[in-house]
C-alpha cells in the first residue's frame, strides 16, 4: 500500500488528487492537506470583482466530494517538511496544523510515501508597504473573498460617479517583481466595460500600471503572434486595445508603497513618482510560503528543498539572459534530493524569469516574475500524478511523463467584458510558454501557427465555457477526465 499526500487543493493539487484516485486501486491512500474548505475556480474571480458573478458560482466545498471519492481530506496547513522522518518517526512526514474545528491549532505528523507540494504562491502583500486588500482604496481579485471586496469598492465608486464624482482607477501590478499581469489585464478591461454599462465611463480616468517594459509582455517576454492574417507583436495588439478603450498606461513601474489613494513607484529611469486613484486593483508579489525542512537529526535542510519555492529538476545555475535556455526548465517537477517529492503548478521554483530582467538606474529590479497559469498548473500536476502511479504500479521509479514549459502550449482567454451578446474576450495562445530560440529563432522563440490572438465575443463565450467545463471537471462528474487540463 502506498500513501500519497498532496499539499494544497488549488488547480494543481486538486487535479493530482483526482487523477491519482481514479487510476490507483483503493488499497492506496490519497490524502489532501489544505487550509481552505472550498475549491475555487480562480480565473472567474474577475467576474466576481465586477459583480457579474456571485462567488458561490466559482466555488464548492471539498470535504463532501473527497469523502464520496475516497480521498482523505485534512483541513490543515503544512508547516514544515521532514523528508527523512525524525528520531521517533521512521517515515518521511509533513508537520501540519489544523485550521478549523475542535482540532484547530493541533499539530499532526502526516506521513507519506510520495508527497506532492501543490501549495501555489503566498500572496505576498506585505512586500509592498500599505498594499492591503480592502484598505487604502486598494483591492485584489486573487481570491473570491478579495474579489467580493473589490466589487463592493467598485460598486460604491460607480454610485458616487453617478452623483457626479470624477474618479481615477488604477489597475496593474503592486510590486516591482509581480507576475500574473494577465489577471490584471482582464480586470482592467472588465472594469472599463462596466463603467460604460453604468454610463459613467466619461467620469473616469482608467490607468494601467505595470512592471512590464512593454505592454503585452505578460511576464512572457511578449510574443510575436498571428492576428487577423497579420503577424504582430503582442505590445502592438494590447496598445491597440488600450488606445481604443481610452486606457492610459504607466510601464516599467515598481510600486513600492501605498498610501490612501496614492501609489508610490520607481520607474526604470530611476525616478520616484506617484499615481493617485479612487480605486485600485494591484496584483501583489508572489512568494514561497517560507516552509522549513529538517533531516532526521533535526538539522535545517531547507536549502535542499526550497529556493523560495520548491527546488525541482530545473537548472538553477545563475546566468545572463542571453544564455538562458529552454532546457533550464524542469520536466518532471521532482526534487533532486528527495525523489519522492514533487512540486507542480506555481509551487516549483523557476530557474529564472522569462521576461528580460531590467533594473532601474538606482539598481532596483523592475521586471515581471514568470507566470504559471492554470493550464500548465493542471498539466504538470497530471504528469506528476501519472509518474507516481507508474512508479507504484511498476515497483520502481518511473519518470516517463514529461512536460517542460518550453514544450507546452498555454491559452490565455482574457475576458474583456461580460455579457452573452455584449461581452468580449482577448484570446491569446502561446506555444511554447517559455520561448525556444533554438527551435524558433526567427519568430521570437514561438511557433507562429500556434501563437495567435483573437478579439471578440467568441472569447467571452470561450471563457464562460471553460468556467463551466472546469468546474464540472473539478466536481469529478461523469467522464470528467475526458476534459483536458
Amino acid at each position: 500500500m502506498a500513501k500519497i499526500v498532496i499539499l494544497g487543493a488549488g488547480i494543481s493539487g486538486h487535479v493530482a488528487a483526482a487523477h491519482l484516485r481514479r487510476k490507483l486501486p483503493k488499497e492506496h491512500k490519497v490524502v489532501v492537506v489544505s487550509p481552505n474548505s472550498n475549491y475555487q475556480w480562480i480565473p472567474s474571480n474577475i467576474w466576481v470583482g465586477i459583480g457579474r458573478m456571485k462567488s458561490e458560482k466559482i466555488l464548492f466545498p471539498l470535504a463532501p466530494l473527497y469523502k464520496k471519492k475516497g480521498i482523505d481530506f485534512k483541513q490543515a496547513k503544512a508547516i514544515s517538511f521532514f523528508p527523512e522522518g525524525d528520531k521517533t518517526e521512521t517515515k518521511p512526514y509533513i508537520l501540519s496544523e489544523y485550521v478549523v474545528g475542535d482540532n484547530k491549532g493541533k499539530q499532526e505528523k502526516v506521513t507519506y510515501d510520495y508527497l506532492i507540494n501543490a501549495t501555489g504562491p503566498k500572496l505576498n502583500f506585505e512586500a509592498t508597504e500599505g498594499l492591503i486588500p480592502g484598505e487604502n482604496k486598494t483591492y485584489s481579485v486573487c481570491t473570491y473573498t478579495h474579489a467580493d471586496h473589490a466589487w463592493d469598492g467598485l460598486k460604491s465608486l460607480i454610485h458616487e460617479m453617478k452623483q457626479g464624482k470624477k474618479a481615477k482607477i488604477l489597475i496593474g501590478t503592486g510590486h516591482a517583481k509581480s507576475t500574473c499581469q494577465g489577471a490584471a489585464f482582464e480586470y482592467i478591461l472588465n472594469v472599463e466595460q462596466e463603467l460604460r454599462k453604468h454610463n459613467v465611463r466619461d467620469m473616469a480616468e482608467v490607468t494601467w500600471i505595470s512592471n512590464e517594459f512593454k505592454l503585452g509582455d505578460f511576464g512572457m517576454d511578449g510574443m510575436l503572434l498571428s492576428y487577423g492574417g497579420m503577424t504582430m507583436k503582442s505590445h502592438e495588439m494590447i496598445e491597440m486595445i488600450f488606445e481604443d478603450r481610452d486606457i492610459k498606461w504607466v510601464l516599467g513601474a515598481g510600486v513600492n508603497k501605498i498610501e490612501d489613494g496614492i501609489a508610490h513607484y520607481e520607474n526604470l529611469e530611476g525616478e520616484y513618482k506617484t499615481e493617485t486613484y479612487d480605486f485600485a486593483m494591484l496584483i501583489p508579489a508572489f512568494s514561497g510560503h517560507g516552509f522549513k525542512a529538517f533531516d532526521k537529526n533535526q538539522n535545517d535542510i531547507t536549502e535542499k528543498l526550497f529556493k523560495g519555492f520548491m527546488i525541482v529538476d530545473a537548472d538553477y545555475t545563475a546566468k545572463p539572459y542571453e544564455e538562458w535556455s529552454v532546457k533550464d526548465w524542469p520536466e518532471t517537477y521532482q526534487n533532486p534530493s528527495y525523489k519522492n517529492i514533487f512540486a507542480p503548478g506555481i509551487a516549483f521554483a523557476p530557474p529564472h524569469a522569462i521576461s528580460k530582467p531590467r533594473k532601474s538606474k538606482n539598481g532596483t529590479d523592475i521586471s515581471p516574475a514568470p507566470p504559471r497559469t492554470g493550464m500548465p498548473s493542471g498539466i504538470t500536476a497530471k504528469l506528476v500524478a501519472d509518474n507516481i502511479i507508474d512508479s507504484i504500479k511498476n515497483g520502481k521509479e518511473s519518470l516517463d511523463h514529461k512536460g517542460s514549459l518550453g514544450n507546452m502550449g498555454a491559452a490565455c482567454i482574457a475576458s474583456a467584458g461580460y455579457g452573452m451578446t455584449q461581452g468580449s474576450g482577448v484570446s491569446i495562445t502561446t506555444y511554447p510558454i517559455v520561448p525556444d530560440y533554438e527551435k524558433y529563432p526567427k519568430t521570437q522563440g514561438r511557433q507562429l501557427g500556434k501563437t495567435f490572438g483573437e478579439i471578440g465575443l467568441a472569447g467571452h463565450w470561450l471563457k464562460l465555457a471553460l468556467h463551466y467545463a472546469f468546474i464540472y471537471k473539478a466536481k469529478m462528474r461523469p467522464f470528467w477526465w475526458l476534459i483536458p487540463e
Binding site: M240, I241, E243, D244, R245, D246, V326, K327, W329, E331, M375, I379, L383, K402, G403, S404, G406, N407, M408, G409, A410, A411, I413, T421, Q422, S424, S427, T429, Y431, D436, K450, F452, E454, I455, G456, L457, A458, G459, W461, L462, A465, P484, E485
Partner: protein, 45 residues
C-alpha cells in the same frame, strides 16, 4: 481617445453569427495547442 478598431472590425467582433463560427474554430485550435501534447526539451521526445 483614438479609435483603433474600425466600425467594420467591431461589427465582425461582436456579430453573434460570425462569432459562433469563430467560437468553434477557436475551441478546436486551442484544443490542438493545449491538449496537443507536451514533453521534455532535454532529450528527443
Amino acid at each position: 481617445m483614438t479609435q483603433r478598431i474600425s466600425k467594420y472590425q467591431r461589427f465582425k467582433m461582436m456579430n453573434p453569427v460570425i462569432q459562433f463560427f469563430k467560437f468553434i474554430y477557436l475551441s478546436i485550435k486551442i484544443m490542438v495547442v493545449v491538449a496537443g501534447g507536451h514533453g521534455g526539451t532535454r532529450t528527443n521526445n
